[in-house]
């Protein structure tokens, strides 16, 4: 809401300048986003009167004007505007003037003719195209009343005013009118607003002889009032009214429309004006639209209505969408003679829905949505009628129509002093609080520290004691509140086991060299369901902003790959990234997806680059597996995780990827991206892993119980075997462990070899087996016996040849 400082000062005494006011109001009531001074940077701009006009001899469009700018002699100005004419009162920028955009005006010659200044359009002074009157869109602005040549044009245009931009929150719609703003500013400074309400002078024709009005359902239009002004002349509004409108950011159109806007800005009450003679049955009926009923609104758009829309009809057809926009069929035009003015209150929810549905949100609909001051409906109607009669030379018909009405009554809210001080943490006195309520213009009755506060209808946002506490707090001043910390019974702050575990997982991954990224939970449909640990139904948002963010992710790897692409495109080719976050797999038949905490990592390029001391080391499957194993070690799982090769994935390398299996459950995957995937995405060799942390957190853990350090020495035996290429290490280790006997403590693979000196389709594996007894030193014989069992088992069960 643009608040004119000059207009405000007519309604309430303001003891400070506009900038100070803006600062103060922001601190006590409503945020003032900016204070604008329209005359900033403008100078030497005066009123001129075009006395003579002739065509420029060397141009087909330039005119040579002799302009009275209050000097001894007329001033010659060359002007290209098509609408210039002798006798006009215009805006003249003198030589040395600054106009909009900091343009400097100089004395000049145009095609041989001296030009001592410039005749200006409003836009040249900084007016926006949406505010400058349309009649002067293609030319200079012409005043419609005589002004003294040479006098200050900026004053005539209202540009020495200051405009305060009030950011009105939904609860403070009372300040969507200048009177509400005046009350607010008055409360801030302890000043009472003073409104100069003048009585409407009525003619003899009773309105009831001209029109009837009815409301089908009073919940749709709890208050519906009308007046008629007859015999009006449609013309431009006087300068004072135009000035008021454009300083409020509204374009002047004609006197009737301008008055409806002026009243809306002044009282916060939206009005609508109909052309009486276009109403078919002279019978206004407010009702719900019928399904598929048609209406063309003022903006020229056709709408097919539905029964949620409230319409104003003329007894035959809709002539307006109630509270939203008038119909083209009853519009005020230059030919209009008799005007019907509507002032009403409509059901906010219907107005909101209708305005949203047809994309017709306006200053009027937004006010009806948030509510209006029911005590002002008739005041606004009367003032509009009075002004239309005055500025349109018309006559107000006798009386007004009231199809439904609300009796405006104050709401009484009780509150105790103790309650106020208890909520604010203050020790305010009864007198202080009563004085604050009085500044707001609220009636107060005090009885034994209980206030009965009488809230006038203009503050319909206040219903309960909390609302009153806010009024007290803001006017008393938040700066004056003490600063304390809550005193409660003891509470213990600590992270949950799950929160600790997630933090620890992040810290471990960082310690292992991975940097954290945060990617989007909403991804494309394709990306959402790649790299999943188990198939799930997807979840899409109903109206995505873009297809890139349409579906809830069921994996974290796709997001990491996007981060990789972003980096690779910027020559960042050595990456170790992880994300810890949620995935959203949905079970078929459920509407709501699960939310599972996952962690995933991505590596590409070198782990370390070559330098003077180290060789370069490229990442490979086993490095990534080492990272995963180190992370898993921290979970102290009671049963080990198995790695099962994945051969059939579209996205992962068929020979270099595995799923991680814990018991029966797949809890993760690891591997290289499929070379075809890498190629298609333009990515280098990339390794990824993904872990279901929920599953890991729920899995049984080993107990932490102390064991003494071994007292007896251990003995090792190495075994090298030849087995078929297809035999996996896991199978060999399983045989060794199963047959190792109770003294086998550790099996470590120390060599893998295939190639020269080894038969085709065979490989050599070499292990160190460590034996130890905890009660005595092992004998040579015990070790030999145990070791022999292992070698035999390897030969028999895996067809291994012991080397």
């Amino acid at each position: 809401m643009n608040v004119s400082y000059e207009w405000l000062k007519e309604l309430v005494d303001v003891p400070v300048d506009a900038d100070t006011l803006g600062e103060k109001v922001s601190r006590t009531g409503i945020e003032v986003d900016s204070v604008t001074h329209p005359d900033t940077g403008l100078k030497k701009i005066v009123i001129g009167k075009v006395v003579e006009l002739r065509e420029h001899p060397d141009s087909d469009h330039l005119h040579i004007a002799q302009v009275d700018t209050g000097d001894d002699d007329l001033r010659q100005i060359v002007c290209g505007a098509p609408n210039i004419a002798a006798g006009q009162t215009v805006i003249v920028a003198l030589p040395g003037a600054r106009i909009g955009d900091n343009v400097k005006i100089k004395r000049s010659k145009m095609r041989g003719e001296v030009s001592e200044g410039m005749i200006c359009a409003l836009q040249e002074l900084g007016f926006s195209d949406s505010i400058a009157p349309k009649a002067y869109a293609d030319g200079i602005y012409v005043f419609n009343e005589p002004l003294t040549p040479g006098s200050d044009a900026l004053a005539a245009l209202g540009m020495h005013d200051a405009i305060l931009d009030f950011e009105i929150t939904p609860n403070r719609a009372d300040a969507l009118g200048m009177r509400g703003v005046a009350w607010e500013v008055g409360a801030t400074y302890g000043e009472r607003p003073h409104f100069d309400d003048q009585p409407v002078v009525e003619g003899d024709t009773p309105i009831t002889s001209l029109l009837s009005a009815s409301v089908t359902d009073a919940t749709d239009a709890p208050s519906y009032q009308m007046r008629i002004v007859q015999g009006v002349k449609i013309q431009d509004s006087p300068l004072w009214l135009q000035r008021r409108l454009w300083n409020a950011g509204v374009r002047p159109i004609n006197n009737i429309v301008d008055i409806t806007n002026l009243i809306m800005l002044g009282y916060g009450q939206p009005l609508h004006a109909f052309d009486y003679d276009k109403l078919a049955n002279k019978q206004i009926v407010v009702r719900r639209a019928q399904a598929k009923e048609l209406l063309t609104t003022l903006d020229g758009n056709d709408h097919e209505l539905d029964p949620e829309d409230i319409v104003i009809t003329d007894g035959e057809k809709p002539v307006a969408l109630a509270g939203v926009m008038g119909g083209l069929n009853s519009e005020i035009t230059p030919e209009t003679v008799n005007v019907v003015i509507e002032a009403a209150s409509f059901a906010p929810v219907n107005i909101r829905k209708t305005a949203l549905k047809y994309n017709l949100r306006s200053q009027a609909s937004s006010r009806f949505e948030k509510g209006i001051d029911v005590a002002s409906i008739n005041l606004a109607l009367d003032e509009a009628a009075r002004l239309m009669a005055d500025l349109g030379d018309g006559t107000v018909a006798k009386g007004h129509l009231s199809a439904s009405a609300i009796v405006p009554e104050p709401v009484v809210v009780p509150i105790t002093l103790a309650r106020i001080n208890h909520v604010l943490g203050t020790a305010l006195s009864s007198t202080t609080v009563a004085a604050l309520f009085d500044r707001l213009g609220f009636g107060v009755e005090v009885d034994d520290d209980t206030f009965s506060v009488s809230i006038p209808p203009r503050r319909w946002d206040i219903h309960i004691d909390s609302d009153l506490i806010e009024e007290v707090a803001r006017l008393y001043g938040y700066d004056n509140l003490p600063s304390t910390l809550p005193t409660t019974t003891m509470t213990i702050g600590q992270f949950t086991p799950k929160q600790k575990r997630l933090r620890r997982t992040r810290q471990l991954l960082e310690g292992l060299g991975l940097s954290q990224v945060i990617t989007y939970s909403l991804t494309s449909v394709d990306e959402a369901s790649q790299f999943t640990l188990s198939p799930a139904a997807g979840t899409q948002v109903a109206f995505p902003m873009t297809q890139d963010h349409a579906k809830l992710r069921e994996n974290l790897i796709a997001g990491l790959i996007n981060a990789e692409k972003y980096n690779v495109a910027r020559q960042q080719v050595d990456l170790a990234l992880y994300e810890q976050g949620r995935v959203f797999p949905r079970t078929q038949g459920h509407s709501r997806p699960e939310e599972k905490e996952y962690a995933a990592g991505l590596f590409t390029g070198n782990l370390t680059n070559k330098n003077w001391h180290q060789a370069a080391r490229a990442v490979d499957f086993y490095y990534v597996k080492g990272v995963v194993e180190q992370l898993l070690r921290d979970y102290r799982l009671a049963t080990p995780v198995h790695y099962e090769a994945i051969r059939d994935s579209q996205d992962l390398h068929p020979g270099q990827s595995a799923k991680l299996v814990l018991g029966e459950q797949t809890i993760g995957l690891i591997g290289r991206l499929h070379p075809a995937y890498e190629h298609a995405a333009g990515l280098p060799q990339t390794y990824v892993f993904e872990l279901d942390l929920e599953a890991l957190m729920q899995a049984p853990r080993t107990e932490m119980a102390a064991k003494p350090a071994p007292k007896f020495p251990s003995v090792t035996r190495d075994v090298a075997i030849l087995v078929a290429q297809t035999v996996e290490n896991a199978a060999v280790e399983a045989v060794i462990t199963a047959n190792g006997g109770k003294f086998l403590r550790d099996v470590t693979l120390f060599d893998v070899y295939a190639g020269k000196n080894i038969a085709n389709h065979q490989k050599s594996l070499a292990y160190t087996l460590t034996y130890r007894r905890d009660d005595q030193t092992l004998t040579e014989e015990e070790v030999n016996t145990a070791f022999a069992k292992v070698t035999t088992a390897l030969e028999e069960q895996l067809g291994a040849t012991i080397r």
Binding site: T169, I469, F495, Q516, V541, A542, F543, Q572, A576
Partner: protein
């Protein structure tokens, strides 16, 4: 020549010889030759039997002194030679300590995670719980329980991603507070909580808007919680995050779930209130929203608003990070550019 003179001569000759020896082997050989059983001193001592009995102890003592002195000279020489060996080895092993060290890498936590961790730890220290909740939320908890009924103009303040009529991507973390309020047993004590996490709004991504961002919201409910407590808590938070010299100020605002509602400014940490580009020359920066919990919110959760009350606040880690570190594009948080992310080494 008497024995004593012989011994003196032996000492003079050999002391010079020992000092001239260049390696440990020679020195060892000399020690054996000189002090061994076949050595000259032993031989001199054998001649003692020819001496007068009264002379023997004197000469014996003298001979032992010479022997000890030579032994000492050998020891000293040995130490010198050993030291030289060590020094040579040390010289050979000397390296350029200014050469760069090996690349031992650790990763960087995301700057938003750092900020959220820091805030969470601050509140844990004040006896708060950290409570997580679903990111896919019901309209009921995201709006209705928070005093934002359907078709209320306040819904305009947040454009929301709906999944269906009931489900949506939470547009704030306050639904976690509504859920917690609903189940909290006040007979067991007050509720002091924060709810951090991701939130979603239907915004077009640009430098200052992101359809995904983060919030940390706080809630304290008990019998005697005041707005002064809110002010003190937020002052402590602002000083923790933005520096001990910070001041805060409260300005009236509107949120459906609090009444009174305030926006909170912190004094500019760049210019200390003098006015600069960061605070748009106002000396103050808006950092969070807060207020006293609206009775409708308490009542909706089954908490008696005439007995219990308290405050709530909400802040945006993304905005905090942008302000604190001068980041001008919110998308930087989500693109994963490692050059951007790795500059934020952990503070504190």
């Amino acid at each position: 020549m008497d024995l004593k003179s012989k011994l003196e001569e032996l000492f003079e000759q050999n002391q010079a010889k020992i000092k001239g020896l260049k390696d440990l082997d020679q020195l060892n050989q000399t020690r054996v030759e000189l002090l061994g059983k076949k050595g000259p001193i032993t031989e001199v001592l054998r001649g003692m039997k020819d001496l007068d009995a009264s002379e023997r102890p004197k000469v014996g003592a003298f001979a032992n002194k010479i022997k000890d002195d030579l032994q000492g000279a050998i020891q000293e020489r040995k130490h010198t030679l050993e030291q030289a060996v060590i020094n040579q080895k040390l010289a050979e092993e000397t390296i350029d300590v200014t050469l760069p060290g090996d690349a031992v890498v650790s990763g960087t936590p995301h700057i938003l995670a750092q900020i959220m961790d820091d805030i969470e730890e601050f509140f844990i220290g004040q006896g708060y719980q950290v409570i997580d909740g679903p990111e896919v939320e019901e309209d009921h908890y995201n709006f209705e329980m928070l005093n934002i009924p359907k078709n209320h103009p306040a819904r305009d303040m947040q454009d929301t991603f709906y999944i269906d009529d009931q489900l949506l991507m939470r547009s704030q973390t306050s639904p976690v507070q509504a859920r917690t309020l609903e189940v909290h047993d006040f007979s067991k004590g007050p509720l002091k909580m924060i709810s951090p996490g991701r939130v979603y709004r239907r915004d077009t991504d640009d430098a200052t808007h992101s359809h995904q961002f983060h919030q940390v919201e706080g809630l304290v409910i008990d019998r005697h919680i005041t707005m002064a407590d809110l002010k003190g808590t937020l002052l402590a938070l602002a000083q923790h995050v933005f520096g001990a010299d910070r001041k805060i100020r409260l300005r009236p605002s509107f949120f459906p779930f609090t009444e009174p509602s305030v926006e909170v400014d912190v004094s500019c940490f760049r210019c200390n209130g003098a006015g600069c580009a960061i605070c748009k020359y106002s000396g103050w920066i808006e950092v969070l929203g807060a207020g006293m919990v609206h009775p409708n919110v308490l009542n909706a959760a089954g908490v008696d608003a005439t007995v219990y009350g308290g405050f709530a606040f909400g802040l945006g880690p993304d905005r905090f990070a942008m302000l604190k570190y001068g980041i001008d594009d919110i998308r930087s948080f989500y693109q994963g550019d490692q050059r951007f992310l790795s500059q934020f080494q952990q503070e504190g």
